[in-house]
């Protein structure tokens, strides 16, 4: 064998070794503390299987031939909830509203209060109606741990409410009550009010009572996919009619929606990182001292659940699932249900430090992604949260960093 061939073989071998030396031959698991889309470990095998089915449906992309649209916002669940994490401004949706006094008009007759700004060929995308009172853009939330939030008894939520601020701490959590849709299947822990309405707990304005409602709405309002729960394609105000595609309704069976619901219910809570670091522990104390924890309640407990792994679990979402007045800083003149336009449901803070892992190595905080740092997000807190914001601003810089380090650890 001549020298050239030997050299070529050596080069080939060298290249190969260089390739496999750079990273392991078979890529390793992603670090568990960075993973969002994992199932709860304690699931039964058959629940794991349903979780996997739901995962597949969650990632399914709908095309025209599948019934997408005719007007829509996105083509799959995962295209907005990328990596099951917090969404990006580019995947935000727009909601708008009319209001009659304090009453919210869901505008069902004109296709509900969500803008479908995309359309398949031959259809007109929606534009904002001219007679609306306000509109807002909403970035998609992370979906990990939602099963735990869904299993919190209404009684526990009501126990945290203080609509008239009777304790005088300036914080007045309010439940957002909604009429339940026809397909709502109340659990024992759901407590209707005198008008038969139920507490909403999902969505930025707590506009959905449970995950079934949230998912069925998302299929229809976000993707234009009809299901056994919501069977009619959307009304398009520009068209002056309900839209219709060539795919018979319902475009997905109820089992598909339910599998996605189960998938979301059985996603583990966002993992914490560096929780024992001194800086993080100091920040946690500041979080409580500044009053942040009055709304971002660290610990909740689930009630009885049909999924054993979700029953009587203590978890740490940093929310009270109630509405709070956030002042003019976050008032988009938009509301849902009985919420005032300046009221928002307390955003769960779990997973905050993992936002960059799903938002393209950048961060976009608050309901519309307007804040690019945690400090900036805090500065947008007004209304009931203004006191905490002022205290944070007055902190020495090292203490501010400790608080931010704590938030990043969530």
């Amino acid at each position: 064998m001549d020298k050239t061939r030997l050299l070529a073989m050596a080069l080939s071998l060298g290249l190969f070794l260089a390739v496999v030396a750079c990273e392991s031959l078979f890529p390793d698991n992603i670090e568990p503390e960075k993973l969002l889309g994992e199932p709860i470990l304690a699931l039964a095998p058959e629940q794991q299987q349903s979780h996997a089915k739901g995962d597949t449906e969650f990632g399914r992309v709908f095309g025209v031939v599948d019934g997408l649209g005719p007007i829509f916002v996105s083509t799959s669940c995962e295209s907005c909830h990328i990596g099951d994490g917090k969404g990006h401004p580019t995947t935000s949706l727009t909601r708008f509203n009319r209001q009659d006094g304090l009453d919210f008009d869901p505008m069902i007759s004109v296709g509900a209060s969500q803008l479908q700004h995309r359309a398949i060929t031959g259809y007109t995308p929606e534009t904002l109606p001219i007679d609306i009172k306000g509109s807002t853009r909403l970035t998609p939330p992370a979906v990990g741990g939602l099963g735990y939030l869904a299993a919190v008894p209404d009684a526990d939520i009501l126990a945290m409410a203080d609509p008239h601020d009777l304790n005088g701490d300036g914080i007045s959590g309010v439940p957002n009550y909604f009429p339940a849709p026809d397909f709502f299947e109340p659990e024992k822990f759901h407590l209707p009010d005198a008008a038969g309405r139920y507490i909403g707990r999902f969505g930025k304005k707590a506009g959905a009572i449970d995950l079934l409602q949230q998912v069925a709405n998302a299929y229809l309002l976000d993707m234009g996919i009809t299901s056994e729960f919501l069977r009619t394609d959307l009304y398009n105000e520009q068209l002056g009619n309900h839209t219709g595609d060539n795919i018979p309704d319902p475009e997905v069976p109820g089992s598909v929606v339910r599998n996605v619901v189960l998938y979301m219910r059985t996603l583990k809570v966002p993992p914490r990182r560096n929780a024992r670091q001194p800086e993080v522990l100091a920040g946690e104390q500041l979080f409580i001292q500044l009053g942040c924890a009055k709304c971002h309640v660290p610990t909740l407990k689930t009630g009885l659940s049909d999924i054993a792994a979700l029953s009587n679990q203590t978890f740490h979402p940093y929310t009270d699932l109630l509405l709070h007045d956030m002042g003019p800083e976050l008032d988009d003149n938009y509301t849902e249900g009985s919420a005032r336009t300046s009221e928002w449901r307390t955003a769960p803070l779990w997973g905050l430090g993992l936002a960059a892992e799903a938002q393209g190595r950048q961060v976009f905080y608050l309901h519309d992604g307007r804040a690019r740092t945690l400090e900036e997000a805090i500065q947008f807190h007004g209304g009931e949260a203004a006191g905490s914001r002022i205290k944070f601003t007055a902190l020495p810089s090292p203490n501010q960093k400790e608080l931010v380090a704590f938030l990043q650890s969530l």
Partner: protein
């Protein structure tokens, strides 16, 4: 002045050399013969000839000949620590039928069975009328001349198990279309020049709003393409290629036209949307090494409110080197060739920026594939490769990493 000219001439060849060696990853064939001898840049055969440059067996004294190939492989891949395990697949079983109907009328067809009988398709069914070597008429179901791989895609000719990503995920190889047109070849000392011009039905509406969730030229293929055009506006497919017998071959090609259904029952329902796909391919032989490359760029007009997931520009390419390490009689197989191979490749599905944030859209895949192949005969290859690729989502989050091994075979029969 003479000195300036001398330097210019030197630089010109340097530029040409750079262009051929790496500046333009284009597509190219790995002709099986080249991997055996590595000296055949002197041949007149070009990518254009690939569909006829196959082994056929003549049926008795008839003017008809048959041929085909078989391809199978194993897979073991791990993505971010998770593996579906080991699997085997029979990717393709293709049958060719060739007939010389008259002295200058040729017929060629190719029937493809993919993954057993999961997908069965008529890939080629064409008639060629030769007026002159420089002017031929072609009609039927033809393989469009976009890039080089699409025309020269027979598995036994290639040293890697997977087709190049740019030829599957951007250029939808194998892209066969109903159409007609002309092609020809012109010779000069040391040089050959070919051209192709065809009108075809073209890719259709599935380019967007498909199950891929992104702009996808492969999703624009539709069985109805063999039946009728979706908009009555044929697409144009054209290619120019040049081969220098010592340097190798370079081709540039275009495929494009209106892809969407813009009127229904004669009533306009939307504006016309155009696709333009350009490709550059090359192949050359450097000593014992065959270098192949292909680069493609697609630009589309899209509905205004389609969203950022559907990009209006895509690009990709690959570059590969096949080095014949040794060639000798092995186990009584004469001229058995052992090749060491390396391919690098990438496809960017969405070139552009997010209007909301001004940041760059991602959605891309990059891969590196080292491997070896053994050719006990010119028409048979046994090959093994390691493959590592990085897949990034639209937002540019940390990529999914996939690594694994494949072992396979492909053979004409």
């Amino acid at each position: 002045m003479k000195e300036i000219l001398r330097i210019w001439c030197k630089r010109k060849w340097l530029l040409l050399g750079l262009l051929l060696m790496g500046g333009f990853p284009g597509l190219a064939q790995i002709d099986s013969a080249w991997s055996r001898t590595a000296t055949d840049t002197s041949r007149n055969k070009m990518v254009q000839d690939a569909i006829y440059n196959r082994p056929f067996i003549q049926l008795g004294k008839t003017t008809t000949a048959v041929g085909g190939y078989l391809e199978g492989n194993t897979n073991y891949f791990v993505t971010d620590g998770i593996s579906e395990g080991y699997s085997m697949e029979l990717r393709r079983f293709n049958i060719f039928l060739y007939s010389t109907i008259a002295r200058r009328i040729k017929f060629l067809s190719e029937l493809e069975f993919e993954h057993g009988t999961k997908e069965i398709g008529l890939e080629t069914a064409q008639l060629d009328f030769e007026i002159n070597p420089a002017f031929n008429l072609r009609m039927g179901i033809l393989v469009v001349p976009i890039g080089a791989f699409n025309q020269n895609h027979d598995s036994p000719k290639w040293e890697f198990i997977e087709r190049p990503l740019v030829t599957t995920n951007l250029i939808p190889s194998t892209l066969s279309e109903v159409g007609f047109g002309i092609h020809g070849k012109v010779y000069a000392p040391q040089k050959v020049f070919t051209y192709d011009v065809y009108l075809v039905n073209g890719l259709q509406d599935g380019l967007i709003l498909n199950a891929e969730g992104r702009t996808s030229l492969p999703a624009g293929k539709d069985p109805s393409m063999f039946d009728q055009d979706n908009n009555g506006r044929p697409m144009l497919s054209t290619k120019l290629a040049f081969r220098h017998r010592k340097l190798g071959e370079v081709g540039i090609s275009y495929y494009g036209g209106i892809y969407n259904t813009y009127k229904i029952d004669g009533i306009p329902v939307t504006s016309k949307k155009r696709l333009a796909l350009y490709a550059l391919d090359f192949n050359t032989t450097l000593g014992r090494a065959v270098v192949n490359g292909e680069f493609a760029h697609a630009r589309l007009q899209l509905p205004p409110a389609l969203g950022p997931a559907f990009g209006n520009r895509q690009a990709g390419g690959y570059l590969e080197v096949v080095y014949t390490v040794l060639q000798k009689t092995l186990l009584d197989y004469p001229k058995t060739a052992l090749n060491a191979n390396l391919r690098i490749e990438m496809v960017d599905y969405n070139i552009g920026q997010f209007s909301e944030t001004g940041t760059r859209r991602r959605d891309d895949i990059r891969a590196i594939v080292p491997g070896i192949s053994i050719r006990p005969s010119a028409n048979t290859v046994i090959r093994a490769n390691y493959r590592y690729h990085w897949t990034r989502d639209l937002l540019g989050n940390p990529p999914a990493r996939t690594g694994g091994f494949q072992v396979g075979f492909a053979s004409y029969f």
